[in-house]
Structures are given as structure tokens and as C-alpha cells.
Symmetry: D2
Subunit: 337 residues, 4 copies
């Protein structure tokens, strides 16, 4: 951590500040005196040093962190890739491409079972489907809730596909017993109470990047879960908010290789939410497979124009089938380079 002091501070104040630093934290402090400013360098474990606290000190002009503020999610301290393995043997990470597919919302037993069977045939290893739906408008369809989770369980029983579905409140946790991978949506990426509670579970958490969160904030939210003991976190890039209006969000494709370099956690991409447009899903899925993603989560609906939500960004089972063949080919090609 580098701390730049304000110009012309009395030496006594500077000395007392340095004493405070070495007294409060397990760090050493080096000092440079320049023409216009004095700079302090903190060496040691600065993860516990609160940047805001430092920045608030009288003598401080500004402060910059050199080391990453996350530990458990940090590849430096955990060089090997984390591979998530489900009881049924399905994997996320570790050199294969995990395909998670299903409708935005569970709508009926027939719908979810039909789609589950179909995406399984095409090669999906996981079934997604929303039971609790975060919608911008209180007047929009909010999901089938508990009933939706039951229907997901039926689809799982029929197909063997593990369930990936979103949680919106700690209170709903008892309903998630049969859920295999619990998803934290973009709007809840910094719902820290929820993250802490999920950190006490022993099942994988799929953590989506917030609407306008930085890569570092995503890793810090993963750290919240991991710090409680649950190290099975899957990171998901799903597009960020920008000024561009042609797509719903802007897929930050660079986030995939950056996250994989900074962290050992698996990284998947959600091209459906990133684009919001069905015809864009295939090219973005292919690009994601090519750039090094460990998986894809894709909205598939048997009848997109009657979907109760997100129909505009859903593809049909036939389109998914064609997409799977292509992304697998590209993934294999890139991995054999």
C-alpha cells in the first residue's frame, strides 16, 4: 500500500502517523521524501488495512493499494484451478465446457420437464430455471416461487440434471434444499447478508457480476462467501451497464481471461442477459467458448414468444442444439491449440 502525504506536514505529525500504522497493523513502513510530497510504502499483510481509514487521516493526500484486497479468491495464494464437482459427477472448471440451460422462468411441469429433456439431449449438464424472479416492475410476473422449485425438482428427478436457480432472500433458503447450485443474481451481488449466509452452506454458489460492478468487486463478493467457509464459488460475467443502447448490457468478454488470471475460481458467461437479443446469443456463446470460459448459462424456451419473461433473449431448443455443437467444436479447437 502506497500512501502519499500532503505537502508541508510537520515532521511530528508524520512520525505519529507512522507509529499509528506500525502499531495497528502487521506492516513495515518505508518513507521517501520528494520535492513536492512524502510517500510511505507499507510492506506486509495489508489486507486488513482499511483504505478509507487511511484516506481520512489529516496528513494523507491519497492512498493506493498495490496488493489485491482478496485472499481466498486470489490465484496467487491458490495457483491451481478450482473445479466444482457435483454429486452426479458434473463439473464446472477443469478443462471442460459446462452447459447450463433452461427457461428464464419455470411456468409449468410440462414446460420445465420438456425443456429439461430437450437441453439434456443437446448436451446441457445442468438445468436452469427461475422460480423467484427479480423484476424491475412490481406489476410484472414474479415467478412461481415455491411451486416453481417443486417443478424443478420433478424435472431433475426425470432427467438427472442438477438444478441451478436464483435465490432472492435468506428467508427462502429452506425451500432450496433440493437445489444443486444456488445462483446469486446481479442485483444481489452486494447483498452481503445473503452472501455471508450462503458462505455457510456446502453447495456451489453461482455468483453473477452486478449490473455495474467492477471485476474486483465481483472477487470481493466471492471473498464474502469464501471467508465463511464455502469455497465452491462460480463467477459469472453477464454484461455490464454502459451508454450503449443497442444491446441490453455490454458483454465484458475481457473479464473472462482477467478473472481467470486473478482467481482460481471457474468463470462462466451468460450471453442471454448480456445481450438481451436472441440472435446475438450464438455468436457471443462462441466467442465466450473461444476466450476461455469454463461454461455457459443460456436461456432456452420451447416457445419464446409465449415465455412469461425474457422471451426476447431466449432461444428455442432447436437453436440451442445447433449452438451446442458449435460451441463444443470451438472450445475443443481452442483447447487443442
Amino acid at each position: 500500500m502506497i500512501i502519499v502525504l500532503k505537502a508541508d506536514q510537520p515532521q511530528a505529525k508524520v512520525d505519529s502517523f507512522i507509529e499509528k500504522l506500525t502499531g495497528s497493523y502487521d506492516v513495515q513502513v518505508n518513507t521517501w521524501v520528494g520535492a513536492h510530497s512524502t510517500v510511505l510504502g507499507l510492506i506486509g499483510d495489508t489486507t486488513a488495512v482499511d483504505e478509507e481509514y487511511i484516506a481520512a487521516q489529516d496528513v494523507v493526500e491519497n492512498v493506493r493499494r498495490v496488493q489485491e484486497p482478496y485472499k481466498k479468491a486470489n490465484r496467487k495464494f491458490h495457483p491451481e484451478d478450482t473445479v466444482i464437482t457435483l454429486p452426479g459427477g458434473q463439473k464446472i472448471g477443469g478443462g471442460s465446457l459446462a452447459l447450463i440451460a433452461g427457461p428464464c422462468s419455470v411456468e409449468s411441469e410440462e414446460q420445465i420437464c420438456g425443456i429439461a429433456e430437450s437441453v439434456k439431449r443437446s448436451g446441457a449438464a445442468f438445468l436452469r430455471g427461475g422460480a423467484f424472479k427479480p423484476r424491475t416492475s412490481p406489476y410484472a410476473f414474479q415467478g412461481m416461487k415455491a411451486e416453481g422449485l417443486e417443478l424443478l425438482s420433478k424435472a431433475k428427478a426425470k432427467t438427472g440434471l442438477p438444478i441451478v436457480t436464483e435465490i432472492m432472500s435468506i428467508d427462502h433458503l429452506p425451500l432450496f434444499e433440493d437445489v444443486d447450485v444456488i445462483q446469486v443474481g446481479a442485483r444481489n451481488m452486494q447483498n452481503f447478508e445473503l452472501l455471508k449466509r450462503l458462505g455457510k452452506l456446502s453447495k456451489p454458489i453461482l455468483l453473477k457480476r452486478g449490473l455495474a460492478s467492477t471485476i474486483e468487486e465481483l472477487l470481493m463478493s466471492a471473498e464474502y462467501i469464501m471467508a465463511e467457509g464455502n469455497e465452491q464459488v462460480i463467477l459469472c460475467e453477464r454484461g455490464m451497464r454502459t451508454y450503449e443502447t443497442m444491446t441490453r448490457n455490454t458483454l465484458d468478454i475481457s473479464a473472462v481471461p482477467v478473472l481467470k488470471r486473478l482467481s482460481h475460481l471457474p468463470v462462466i458467461v451468460d450471453p442471454s442477459h448480456a445481450s438481451g437479443i436472441s440472435w446475438l446469443i450464438e455468436p457471443l456463446a462462441i466467442a465466450s467458448a473461444a476466450v476461455g470460459a469454463d461454461g455457459l448459462i443460456i436461456e432456452v424456451h420451447n416457445d419464446p414468444s409465449h415465455a412469461l419473461c425474457d422471451g426476447a433473449q431466449s432461444i428455442t431448443p432447436a437453436q440451442f442444439d445447433s449452438l451446442v455443437k458449435k460451441v463444443n467444436t470451438v472450445f475443443d479447437t481452442v483447447h487443442s491449440l
Copy 2:
């Protein structure tokens, strides 16, 4: 709502789509046939019409809403300003400038009571103070929690200042009995389960704009609370995320007059979080008072350089005292123009 159809659709498909619209919603549909496209215009109550559902239809190229998707927060249907009045007579909205002040975090009885007395003397009508703190890092101070709420109650007992403090989880609600105004932080603006639960209370909710939320999304989140019956919502502009790094966030000063035009709800500004820099708070507070804000929420700490959080953006009681005189003068000047 304006729906542009794809070019060259068979008339039968168009007709069947129009029938579906008039059958499903309480709307009339007008049709124009142009050279390159056919356009439908929906007239009636389109609040219930799901844009995404429409956009997903086969025949649809794109869809644009003409009417606002919020009703209860909408000034068109409620032209008079909403004024929030607390049992002690303190008001937010209605022509005065509500001043909410206090530390980022409650740290001790001495601290919170001291600051409360001091800001009261300077003219604050409300005491703010965090008991549950949303922090990016799991390793940072997370607030005094239940104990912090108790200390806030003590400060209230001593000073009569109503308490404004943030809730982070529905589960903590029982602890908020003595809280006068419950704050929803930026990170939870779209924690819809929390909003719905707060909508069932009969106390005012201070709703902060999300880190990168649009003005319309803020109003839709207010609508979530109001749709459940609680119409006492205070909107708060606290800076948005942009590419500029000189300030922590970018204060969207235009949001104040825009929100006041679109909605009847009171609008306050948080210059502390918007800037993240203590010397910027006074000019931004003055600008906010000048632009028409109904109040200010400001971080004041007796000893910013020892604050357990957000010290860099806290001002001292003396600075607050000077600020209050200035913002009141500017507010009065502008209101007498």
C-alpha cells in the same frame, strides 16, 4: 406503447397478434402501414403490459413505451407534493430543507450522543448513523449491529432527533422498532424482497439510488414499496458510477429536478457518498439546496481521522455548523426568487 413489426409479415400473423393484445390487456390497438414497417400503437392502461413479452413475439421488431411504467410514484396521477411528517413534527418535503446528519458508523455511546447533540445545535432535524454497514470487503468493519441500534436510541432519547439508519436484511427488521426512517442503501435498491417487506410498514423509507441505476429504476423501486401500501418514500440521489475517477461517484444533480417533475415524492441528496471527499461536501450541498432538493444527508464525525469507516468523506461538527448556515441561506434565497 409503440410496437414496430418486422417487415413483410403475413397479414394473418399480424392480425392474430393484434387479437392477442386486445384479448390480454385493456388496450386499443391502432395500426399504421408504412413503406418499410408496420407500427402498432397501444392506447389505454399499458402499465400491465410486459415489454419483454411483447418484444419476444415473432412478428415484433421492437417496442417502446410512451407512458411511464410507474403509477403510485407518478406525479401525473398525484400532482401534489408528498410531505413526510414524523410524529415529532419533523418534515421532509413541503418547502423546507430537511437536514439529516451523523456519523457513517455508530461507534460508541459517547460518540453518537456527542455528534447528535452537536448536529442538533447546528440545525439538523434527523440523526443518521450506521449500525449495519455494507462494506465491499468482508474483512472491513461491519458495524456495531444491534448494539449500534441501541446506542442510536439512546442518542434519540437524549436529543429528540428521529433516527435514520440502514437495513441490510429483512431478518433484522425486529431490531428496527425504534428507528424512525429506515434507509435502503444503494446496493439494495433492487433487493425486491426487502422492498416488498418495507412496503408493509407504516414508517418512512429513505430509498437510495443504486450505484448505477437509472432514474426510472429508482422510481420503479419506490413503486415496489408503494404498491404494498407504504407511500412514505423519500428518494435519495447519492452519485452514480461513471468512468470519472476524480470523485468516488458522479453526483447527478439533474436527477433532483427530473425526479421532482416525474414524481410527487420528496428528493434528498447525499453529497458525502456522491463525492467521497470531505472538502467537496460543502459546495455540493450548496448546489443541491440551490437546485431544489428537499433535504441533505451528510456524514459528520467528531474525529474523521479516527472514524471506523468513510472518514475521508466525513466533515467535522464545526464544518457542518458552517455548512448549515450556508445551505439554509442559499435555500431561502432560491425559494424566494
Copy 3:
């Protein structure tokens, strides 16, 4: 074009406005009268209708364009892909992957000729190299200017590679005689006087997307060039400005398929400027080839750590050689799907 009128306008004002519309433009106007608003629909050629002029009218609440405001760049009016073919037979567009490579700046004859030969061996069909350099700081190296252009010509004479280089001012145009493809940099994307002048040339123009320009603005800038007669425009996605700081810019990978759908012009990607980080160039180049780009423009320097600019985002000739093999394999794989 859809025009929403303000509520409660006197009929006479509305009628006079409609007359003005049909009198000024070659359009028909349809009218719907709704409960809260009246909406006009303009049918015909609305390219010439000035949205701002309409929006300023007394009776108008807001106005939205349904048709794209660009014509010559629009795929609707020109369904076939444009393929740029140079005198030497090199192509951009039309099913192959054009590789443009070279140093950020020309630094010496030895440097530029050496790199040219090397990238040619690896498969580049075009040589890039900056002679006039737009630098944020007036104190940074500004390029070798006229001398740099001469050295590019020497490298072209030796290798046969056509030259791609940036122009920063109309005044420099006489020096660009021997340049094969003139590049307009991101900072000049809306230097309309420059675009108009380049529109009178008969050589290809490589137009980079502005630092924070929308996809539509990029197409409108292409339209400026094309409207003057020069239809040989190559569009280039080079990353957009966002709040994310981990990469220099955020590569908008979706822009590639979106641009190719909206326009017939070839689209290339610049992964060097998009990321600003050398190790990210290969994965982003692979993703771009996979998503459908018609070419790549990549900074290659024989000695990045001594490059006079942009060394941090340059790769070595050996890295480029390896990259070319990979992107070609991926491109071929995707095109054979």
C-alpha cells in the same frame, strides 16, 4: 418516426403542426388519440427529418426514430457485404480474416522494415505503423510525422505490404499519397470536417469507433464519408470507455455481430487498444475471430520494452506468429460450422 404530443393541446395547434410536417418533408402523418396523449406516426423517408427540430416544437412531448438515420451504410439498402480490395489484391471482408500488424509508432527504418518483414512472414497482409500519434500529453512523443510516412513507404517497397496509418489533420493529406488505407483514430471519429474530406478520396478509410461513441454514431460517421462518395469504409471496434479499470477500455465484442447485421461494411477489431495489456491480446483476438470479425489490427514491436509508445500493449513478432496460427485456425473452424 413516432412523435408523442403533450397532453391537452388545442386541436388547432396540433393541426398546424401536422401541416408543417407534411409541408416540410416527404412524409405522411397518422394520428392516434389516446387517453393521456396523442401520438403521430410519420411514414416515408424520415432520414431528412431533424429530430431536434421536432423535439423543440411547443406541442411535442418526445420523439423517437423507428428507422435508422443512416442510408449508405445500411444493410437494408445494400444487402451484399462490401469487400475492400486493394490494388495488390489484399482484401478486407468477404470471408477471409485480414491481418493488419505493426508497431504503434514508426521509430526507424531498421525497426519498421524488420517488423514488416517479420509480420509478413507470419501472415499479415497489411502493415500498420503510426507516423502522427495522438497523445494525451503534449510532452509525450508525437511520432516521426513526415519522416515516419517515408519509412513506411520504404517498408512497403521492401515487403509489398500495403500501409495502414492514421491521419490527424486535413493539412497532412498531401503526405498520405503513398498510404493505402487511411485510419481515422478514435479521438477524430467525429471530426466531421476530416471525414468529409476523406469522403472525396478514392482509397479505403479505416474508421475507429470513438472512445465513448455508440454503434449508431460510428455508423453515422461512416455515413459522413460515404455521403461524399467514398464507400470504402472499414469499421473498427477498439474498446469503449467504462467504469472498469482492469483493462484500458472495454472491448464491446457484441458490436461486431451487431455492426455486421446493421451494415454491409467490413468490421475489424483492435484488441491492442481495447485491452491495453499485451497478454490479453491473444485471447481477445481469438474471440474476435470467433465472433465474426473480418480482420484484426494488432500492435507488434520487435522490442516492446523499448517501444516509444504503447509498449505495454504490444506483442513480439514471435507472439504474433503464434497468435496468427491460432486465430486462423479458429476463424476457419467457425466459418466451417
Copy 4:
């Protein structure tokens, strides 16, 4: 400047890098050796040190500047406010509020002279009016060009108001003889060749912040002009591009106090372009006067609904007259606090 080295670099490489630094620049280098990284601190004049060059070195992990990269625009080296004084005595900076008003575009002698007389009566000290207009679409009205400049001269002759108007190309400079303040528009803020040329003039330059430029980039563009000898630069905040669509741009009100702290140059605000909505101009002008701006540039049109451009954001002379009284009252109130 702080340079963090990659972990585990051989000492010889580090030593040779340090030698290179002290050999190339007028700086001293201090070294800290930490557990995970070695950090170098450069002390001395680092303005000439090229960050990108440093970042590209093999041994470097990252580099951060501590000192500002601008000198002539920097308040540290020029503590007194710069005041621009025109031959006629009109001032920008120095404790008064400069009002610049006039139409988006010059349209006729009658129009420009009429508006000039009217805004002068209301208190404007400068006349603005566009002769060369940067328009997104090549099909939109591009301004009256040379004829527009002549009409501005006539209005100046009649009223004595100095002219503020935009230049779009170096080639047009001979036409700008009678122009008093030359404006560089947002789209040309980084048209460095234009900036350098304007730096050789001895008349004031009004430099608008780019569509998505940082505060530091704005200061670096001012530095381009000042480095050539012309120190009469006026900075203008005119709204930045964000994801919010309710306003055309987002006025960064914080930029005013930040710029005034970092630089001695006068800072004005353009509420017309910042908002794009006529009813927002007054509140934003008031907020700007309250926050410390040295002036305002406002679009005034005698008949906004017939304006040839930007009518939606123009106010009438009567509205301007009312606005002037209000902003002057607020400015005086704030300055007397």
C-alpha cells in the same frame, strides 16, 4: 511516480532498469523490498516520464503517477486565479459571473442581431452563436459557415458583445479574425493538431470537455494549448456520457470545484448541452452559479420551435431574462457567505 515490479525478478534486471530510469530522466529512485513485491519510487520531475514506456518494461507489474501530469494548467505552480480580460473589458474569472448567450446556430442577420440585443439587455456580456456546426448526421443542417461568421460580426458591431463561436478545422482559422473567443467543441477536445494551432494565437480559447473525457484529460488538452504559449484557456463542463437516458448528458457538477482546485483556469458550465431539455436549464444554471462556476454559456433562441438546431434545449429571451436575475442573486448570495 510509483513503479511496482513483478515478483521474483533477478536483481541484475532490476538494477539495470533503475539505471535506465536515472539515466533517462531527471529523477531519483528509491527502492522498497516487500514480501510479495518490490516497489520503486521516482522523485523529481516526472512530467516527462512516459507511463506507457515504463509499463511496457519486462520487470514492471504496474505504474502509478503521484504527481499531476500537467504543469501550466496546474494550480500548484500557479496559485493565483487566471482572469481572462477582453479588449472591451469583459472578464471571465476573478469573482464575477460571465454570461455567454445566443442561439445554437446563426440563422439570419435579423435573428442574430435581435437575440444579441435581447441577451445584452438581460445582462449577457458575450454573444455565442454557431457558424460551423458539428452534427452527428451528414444530412442535418451544418451551419451558415463563413456567412454565419459575418453575421456574428454585424451583431457584435451593433451591440459591442464579443463573439464566442466554435471552430471545427484549422483550415477555417482565417475566417476567425473577428472572433473574440474561439470555442473548441466536445468532439474536438482531443483534436491535438487543432489545439496546438490555437496555442499559437493570442486570443482566449473556450475548451469544452469531451463527451466522455475525464477531468484530467480536459486539463491535458488545456495543457496542449498552453504549452504552445497561449495561456488564455477557459474550461467548460458540458455534461458527460453515462447510462442515464433521461437527460442528454449527465452534468458533472462536481467537476467545477474539482477543476478550480486543480487548476487556476476559469471554469464555466453549459447547462444547455448538459441537459438537452429547456426546462432543466434554469435549475442547472442556478446550481452551477451556486457551486462556484465562473460563468455560464446558454442557448437562447427567439423562437426555439423554429430553431434550425438544438431547439429542444434553447430557452426564449424572456426565460433568459428571468434566469439571469436568479443566477445573479444566487451567485451574489454564495459569494457573500
